[in-house]
Subunit: 144 residues, 2 copies
């Protein structure tokens, strides 16, 4: 989660909403990819950290299912990213700050609890919540 | 929708789940992009037709919001693509076959009806449902 937080800080420095993520090989602990939100840089509303990492690693490994991978992300994933996590068959999701306004895991559509969701990872929310939340709050306060 | 169906037929010919889509300039009717599901070709579980089109057009136009665009897709979007449609602020969604098993618009999480969804397009489901559904059924029957 420290590596994900470092990515979130890089996002903030680049003027992006500060959300960072790392995708990890669950067996070895090796970081498969790290990245952050790039909506502004790419001018792409789908360029969330989680989606970019899943797409990048799946294409690189030629594996549309990443069953041996865990995702660490500093903010509760939105419904788009939660569904992508399900499609990729990730083993575990660790996330930082809760997102009551736009989250899709423990708020809103609660994607993994739907009967139409065909794979749910193990979910651990609130990991490193304070640091991730502080970064988001500071970012949005500075923009007001 | 005929153009989206033609894309779905190209998907089937390429061994992909046959879903096709086109993104259209609502003011002029011009097709901004057309494409189909490419999960197998890219080995990427996020490579659904809708997500690929939104990402491609937003990056090309340098516009993270595509408020003047309508999407035609042959199958009810999944939750991932429905959320992407919301983020992109598309004006209208026209879709073909209903998807009770994995859909996210009129089934499952019903993304656009969530309080955490900050933009909902106008939705027209069941447009050209028969042809889109026949293509999907033929594809899955042939694979059994």
């Amino acid at each position: 989660m420290a590596a994900a937080l470092a990515e979130a800080e890089r996002a903030a420095a680049a003027g992006e909403v500060p959300v960072g993520a790392v995708l990890v090989d669950a067996a070895t602990g090796e970081i498969l990819a790290r990245g952050h939100n790039r909506v502004e840089a790419l001018r792409d509303p789908t360029a969330h950290a989680e989606l970019l990492l899943i797409s990048e690693v799946a294409r690189r490994l030629g594996a549309k299912r990443l069953t041996g991978a865990d995702l660490y992300v500093t903010l509760e994933p939105c419904p788009m990213c939660a569904a992508a996590i399900s499609f990729a068959r990730l083993r575990r999701l660790y996330y930082g700050a809760y997102d009551p306004k736009s989250g899709g895991v423990d708020h809103g559509p609660r994607i993994f609890e739907q009967a139409t969701c065909h794979h749910s990872p193990e979910v651990f929310g609130g990991i490193g919540e304070r640091a991730a939340g502080d970064l988001l709050r500071a970012f949005f306060q500075a923009r007001r």
